[in-house]
């Protein structure tokens, strides 16, 4: 519990420092909006059908917007050494980083939901939506911290560039713009290894009442990715930290 409180202090620090920085606004808020508009404008698709995709993309981009840059930023500013010389475990430090991204992801993901409600979209399964957003935001936040773990660069721009190389392709294979059921077989197979797929599925189920995979599978897959990403992030960072200090 003591260590968890210290994680919250690290999360509070991250929110104070990093969530006003340019890359967060660009990668977290503007890019999902522009991607959505570029897909929507000029097509004859009802907006209701796009809200689950927009929600998935927004939660994904906001939860992963700052995570890849925190460790390189802190290593370069020599503040990482301050954290490591404090009585906190490696788990505590990275849990703090994940919590801040998680909270930011949850907060911004409410925007497409409200936009949808204003446009007449009905939330058919509110609890599925809430649990889905919570699980997905934590999963994506852990994923973002994992993205900065290797290679152990202390240049935030390099880390952000590498993370973009991974993040953007995921958007196109996770049922954000085209529902999974409409994808060819190879698309379905590829999409099944993306955590974003399962959240987009849950969002589609919550807002449209149907989805390709059973809801239980979506939840289980997200839980699996949560554990996998967080444990992998901490373990890899633990190994690479000496190279950053």
């Amino acid at each position: 519990m003591n260590q968890f409180k210290r994680s919250l202090a690290i999360a509070e620090k991250n929110i104070r420092i990093y969530y006003y920085k340019g890359p967060v606004i660009i990668f977290g808020v503007l890019i999902p909006l522009f991607l959505f508009l570029s897909f929507y404008i000029g097509r004859n698709i009802p907006i209701k059908a796009l809200i689950p995709g927009l929600l998935g993309m927004t939660t994904f981009f906001t939860s992963t917007s700052v995570g890849p840059a925190i460790v390189p930023w802190e290593a370069r500013a020599k503040t990482l050494e301050r954290l490591i010389s404090s009585p906190v475990s490696i788990w505590t430090i990275f849990l703090g980083d994940v919590i801040s991204s998680f909270l930011f992801g949850i907060l911004v993901s409410t925007i497409p939901v409200f936009v949808g409600l204003l446009l007449g979209v009905k939330v058919l399964n509110p609890f599925t939506l809430i649990f889905g957003v919570v699980l997905a935001a934590f999963c994506f936040a852990s994923f973002s911290v994992l993205l900065s773990s290797y290679p152990p660069s202390n240049v935030p721009a390099s880390s952000m560039m590498l993370s973009s190389l991974v993040k953007f392709p995921l958007i196109f294979v996770s049922g954000v713009f085209i529902p999974i059921k409409n994808l060819p077989l190879i698309g379905k197979i590829v999409s099944s290894v993306s955590p974003l797929t399962y959240f987009t599925e849950l969002a589609r189920y919550s807002l449209q009442g149907s989805c390709f995979f059973p809801v239980e599978i979506d939840f289980l897959a997200l839980m699996f990715f949560n554990v996998l990403f967080f444990v992998a992030a901490v373990k890899i960072h633990e190994r690479t930290l000496p190279q950053r200090l």
Partner: protein, 309 residues
């Protein structure tokens, strides 16, 4: 009575690739002691202090801080430490106050106590008026004072200070030194790395001299000075200019150096050397204007040990 140890280090070794930064270092620091860790740049001081504070892991050896193994029980050990690292590392995008609140929280200091201590420390270090300003606008002296405040927010039992006064203005340096001395008087153990020999001489109960990763000597500054044979010197001034080469021919003179209108002569036996000098002056029809015997300075000892090492 056996004194309790604040720091116990044995066989400490750390390599960075081919470079052996710390090579089987062994020393102990007693509780309440003011311990200096002296060495030239690149000697291994910062690597040693980073191992002691749990920032990096050694390749070999044991480190105990206040009875806790820094590798096995690092959280318990760190809980009792206050650390001022060599590089300024307060969060520049946070205010002084928020930096202190963060560090207090990381040490588990309850919120109200954290606020109380932060106010007291900021007032003591004359930063209270600027408490809500971002640290990025602080001068080097202010940042260094803030780092010391951050190191003291948990009221540590042992303070690790890595070159805390390096590059500071006189006023900031004096304030920091006064506070550290006061804390030591109150019973806190202080581990200070520095390359400022005079500072170590004035402050430390004992010093360790490290060079190329190896400990060259550990002792009280005064004892180190007295132990160093061949470093005692005589400063002599004649009524006329005398060549250093002539002085070097005097029996018992190891080394001679011109220092303004004086000549500093390094000898083993001051008594015999004075007699020889008097004979020399008579033979050259010189008058001795002044003659002082000098004990070796810590700087002399330091340079000698570094050369030998």
């Amino acid at each position: 009575m056996k004194k309790e140890k604040a720091v116990e280090v044995s066989s400490l070794t750390k390599c960075f690739g081919e470079l052996v930064a710390v090579d089987h270092v062994k020393f102990e620091v007693e509780k309440g002691e003011f311990f200096g860790f002296l060495g030239p740049n690149g000697a291994g001081k910062t690597t040693t202090i980073r191992i002691l504070t749990g920032v990096i892991k050694p390749d070999e050896g044991n480190v105990q801080v206040l009875g806790y193994d820094v590798l096995e029980n690092s959280i318990e050990a760190k809980q009792l430490m206050g650390v001022v690292p060599e590089m300024a590392n307060a969060y520049l995008d946070l205010s002084a106050w928020n930096n202190l609140m963060l560090v207090g929280a990381l040490y588990g200091v309850p919120k109200e106590l954290r606020k109380e201590r932060a106010s007291k420390l900021l007032k003591e270090f004359k930063l209270y008026e600027r408490r809500n300003c971002l640290v990025k606008g602080f001068s080097k002296g202010m940042k260094q004072k803030l780092l010391l405040c951050m190191a003291l927010i948990n009221e540590p039992e042992i303070l690790f200070l890595d070159e805390p006064t390096s590059g500071l203005d006189v006023e900031s340096r004096r304030l920091i030194i006064e506070v550290i001395q006061k804390l030591n008087k109150e019973g806190k153990t202080v581990f200070l790395t520095t390359h400022n020999i005079e500072e170590a001489n004035q402050l430390c109960d004992r010093v360790a001299i490290i060079n190329r990763g190896r400990i060259a000597a550990v002792d009280r500054p005064e004892k180190l000075r007295l132990k160093s044979s061949g470093l005692q010197s005589i400063e002599v001034s004649f009524d006329r200019k005398v060549d250093v080469e002539e002085v070097l021919e005097i029996e018992g003179v190891n080394k001679a150096r011109k220092m303004g209108d004086k000549i500093k002569i390094y000898i083993d036996d001051p008594d015999a050397a004075i007699n020889e000098l008097v004979d020399f002056a008579r033979s050259k029809k010189l008058k001795i204007v002044s003659l002082n015997t000098l004990a070796p300075s810590l700087e002399d000892v330091f340079l000698k040990l570094i050369k030998e090492n």
